[in-house]
Symmetry: C2
Subunit: 252 residues, 2 copies
DNA sequence: CGTGCGCCCTGCCGCTACGTGAGAGTCAAC
DNA sequence: GTTGACTCTCACGTAGCGGCAGGGCGCACG
């Protein structure tokens, strides 16, 4: 009983070498060996293999996959839900790119000349807030992120333009507040924080005060977000962070 | 004029090292250099870079991308259309995987026990006919494939179950015909060929006799398809091929 | 005028996730 | 008992960069 390596590879649609590799690095060790030393894969092995391949398709490294799969308090159902969410997210991202290509096709047809900046923007260096939901969910397991993916996947090109405009507007006002020397715990900054929270709720997912403070922490901890704010104004990341916390404490 | 490497990298959302690498392998050589030997990227370079990144996201190797981009008779519009189609295809594939995950979740909830084969099938080693459209279009430039992607992306889990069932039913009858010793140019085989053509039209895209014969050739030429048929019965690939050709000649 | 500081250059070594043999044993079939 | 398909274990090769070393630019600031 159990499948030999060739059969397992065929079933999963991978090469024998790949299975050898996974065995070498300890990612997928077959349940047993025959007398002659042949690998024998049982049903549990194949189930694990399937999960590996799905996470791999989603862009995780083999090391990350090992961590995810060997986490003791993640049952099969949690894996399926997470994979489901991540897949929806990928689709949302691809849809955004489709919208970008359609936008460029339009521009080309009408003969509009776009600056390089505009061209790259068409695809979006993915919006930080949408991205945040992903990061949040990647290891957590709420459904804020799945909600985000579901909603963003329904957005049209025009929607994205509107969303981008509103986001940039709010951003400009953050910068203005910082430049004006507003205190992060003051009325103005806290109102901006509240507006920020409502904007996320409106476009992506229900952003509670708790989630919002979580985002604020990430704005400081994750350099991708830090850079996003700091590129606009030195100290802006910390300013936004502090304002969000003050706002959450005051209103919650 | 022209952007320095750091600025170009920032615009495109890649690292400087990546641009160096593309320069090294000749995939993207900056339009000029400053007096001090600094790379200077002009607008045309950035446009090329954007195309590179999109094709890369779609899974092409850098070498393949070079071939695609340096093909003299592919204008910007053709690139956009191709990218648009390929993106829709990726989305369709991911949707199929989503459906697969949902199917597994259902099965898990109801407590159904699936064999490993069934589990891997849930995601589909992608249906050959849908795949065919892709291969057809990847280098050609009709829109059969885009049509296929558009339609399949709208299919639900239940739809896929039905499609799979119908496909397998037809497949079984091909096998039966071959086993029964039916001639490939006979009535029975030709009727199966016609049914095959209509099934593709129904589920994926308008399959003309011309396209159909194209598919038949591919069933013999591309080992992924050959294997698909030969795994069921030796000689089946050739049998299907001959029947499709006979049918096309007789009816067209 | 020099002296940081940030950006740029060219090697070059390292890493991941395998591909691709080489050389040898295994197993079912004829 | 031999053939052909499958398996094993080294072991080196490859793609697409990441990251660091050692060294030039270039402009501001004192």
């Amino acid at each position: 009983m159990g499948y030999p390596v060739g059969r397992a590879a065929e079933l999963a649609g991978v090469t024998v070498r790949t299975l050898h590799h996974y065995d070498e690095i300890g990612l997928l060790t077959p349940g047993g060996r025959s007398a002659a030393g042949y690998r024998r894969y049982d049903d549990a092995d194949l189930e694990r293999l399937q999960r590996i391949l799905l996470y791999r398709e989603l862009g995780f490294t083999l090391e990350e996959i090992a961590v995810i799969l060997d986490d003791p308090d993640t049952d099969p159902r949690a894996h399926l839900r997470r994979q489901h969410g991540l897949l929806l997210d990928r689709i949302a991202r691809l849809r955004q790119m489709v919208a970008g290509v359609e936008f460029l096709m339009e521009a080309h047809k009408v003969g509009v000349n776009l600056t390089p900046e505009e061209k790259f923007e068409a695809f979006g260096d993915f919006d930080p807030d949408a991205y945040a939901a992903e990061a949040q969910e990647r290891w957590g397991d709420t459904d804020a992120y799945a909600q985000s993916a579901r909603r963003t996947s329904g957005y049209s090109k025009d929607d994205w333009v509107r969303i981008r405009a509103e986001s940039e507007d709010l951003n400009a006002r953050w910068v203005a507040a910082l430049d004006a020397g507003e205190p992060a715990e003051g009325r103005v900054a806290m109102d901006l924080a509240e507006e920020h929270r409502l904007q996320i709720t409106k476009f992506y997912y229900d952003c509670s005060y708790e989630i919002h403070t979580g985002l604020a922490e990430m704005y400081l901890a994750d350099e991708r977000f830090t850079a996003n704010y700091e590129n606009q104004r030195a100290g802006l990341a910390r300013f936004v962070h502090d304002a969000i916390l003050a706002n959450a404490v005051a209103r919650a």
